[in-house]
């Protein structure tokens, strides 16, 4: 006997004034706190700030400048006998108004190497869920670029809300959920010291 047809699941449209941001929409941000394998504590949080607005259907739903948090998943100091320092980081969320936009798939951005006088890679690694640092006693500098993806779809207000207001910025690259690509991050927030 053939199985009964499963009716398609109907998903309610977003409420008026809201836009649905799909799961896996990329979010590009800077890490604002320096993190070192020498001093990092597992589970400690660090601050992130979006650098590229997320735009859905031509409407900015997460502006550049929105703040959020990441978390240290793993940290180990370098040890004698050749054991290098290690860090694994995860992006947790970006706040947009009263909404925690939860994130997954953290990756640190190679653009951090722009600061050639400070940027060296003894060896490096990156994974879908975190960032692994291997080599010496390593530090992720404040201002390092990174990105992640939305963990699940979320409905966000189209109109600016407190803590989620677009920064007045010159024409910046934007992220569209429809094209799925992450533009090259801005280097405007790279510290110079």
């Amino acid at each position: 006997m053939p199985a009964a047809a499963v009716p398609p699941v109907e998903v309610a449209p977003p409420a008026p004034g809201y836009v649905r941001v799909p799961a896996n929409t990329p979010v590009v941000f800077d890490i604002l706190d320096p993190i070192s394998s020498k001093t990092a504590k597992i589970d400690a949080m660090f601050t992130i700030r979006t650098t590229v607005p997320v735009v859905i259907d031509g409407k900015t739903v997460i502006p550049a400048g929105a703040l959020g948090q990441g978390q240290i998943v793993h940290a180990a100091k370098a040890r004698a006998m050749g054991k290098a320092g290690e860090l694994i980081l995860a992006a947790r969320y970006v706040d947009c108004g009263d909404v925690h936009v939860t994130l997954r798939g953290f990756h640190l951005d190679r653009a951090g190497k722009d600061r050639a006088d400070q940027a060296f890679v003894a060896s490096m690694a990156f994974t879908p869920a975190g960032f692994f640092v291997v080599g010496g006693e390593s530090t992720v500098m404040a201002g390092s670029h990174a990105n992640a993806r939305l963990m699940s779809a979320v409905d966000l207000r189209v109109e600016p809300t407190p803590n989620c207001v677009a920064e007045p910025a010159p024409a910046a690259p934007t992220i569209s959920a429809t094209d799925g690509a992450i533009p090259a991050p801005s280097t405007a927030n790279v510290p110079t010291k």
Binding site: P26, S36, I42, V73, H74, A76, M81, G82, K83, A84, E86, I88, A90, R104, G105, H107, L108, D109, R110, A111, G112, K113, R115, Q118, A119, F120, V121, A122, S123, M124, A125, F126, T127, P128, A129, G130, F131, F132, V133, V134, G135, G136, E137, S138, T139, V140, M141, S144, N147, R149, G180, A181, I182, P183, A184, P185
Partner: protein, 146 residues
């Protein structure tokens, strides 16, 4: 003291090296590393061939459960539920690696036998697809003894 920054690539920039890397098939002596089961994570533990500690095994545990005993040039895959996992090796010194597994993602963990006082020390360290790909052709899967 001079500080070092270690940086990695974006995952989704169309033309990035990592985007290209993601399409690379991971072929080992024993076959191809497949995708994780739906909703699960896949962890690839591997130990590159090396003269250092060649006679020693790198035994990977999660809690009290032994997952693999990797000889030189071996790898083993573990399917894991999403969430936090703590893996460790024991020997002259215990080494611990905390991992947070996300669904449908693959992780790479390298085991290396480092120098110890009396014998070698097994170290688990985070790795990545590119590093594994460089060694993959020389790696064979570890099979548990029955």
């Amino acid at each position: 003291m001079k500080k070092y920054i270690v940086a990695a690539a974006l995952l989704a920039v169309t033309a990035s090296p990592l985007a290209a890397q993601d399409t690379v098939e991971l072929k080992t002596k024993s076959g191809v590393i497949g995708a994780p089961a739906a909703g699960k994570g896949l962890i690839v533990f591997y130990r590159p061939g090396s003269m250092m500690g060649m006679a020693l095994g790198c035994t990977v545990h999660e809690g009290t459960a032994e997952l693999a005993r990797l000889g030189s040039g071996k790898y083993y895959t573990v399917t894991a539920e999403p969430g936090k996992h703590v893996y460790n090796t024991e020997g002259e010194a215990k080494d611990v690696l905390n991992l947070e597994v996300e669904p449908d993602e693959t992780y790479f963990v390298k085991c290396k036998i480092g120098m110890g006082v009396m014998s070698g020390r097994a170290n688990l360290s985070p790795s990545d697809k590119a590093a594994f790909a460089q060694k993959a052709k020389g790696l064979a899967i570890w099979t548990p003894k029955k």
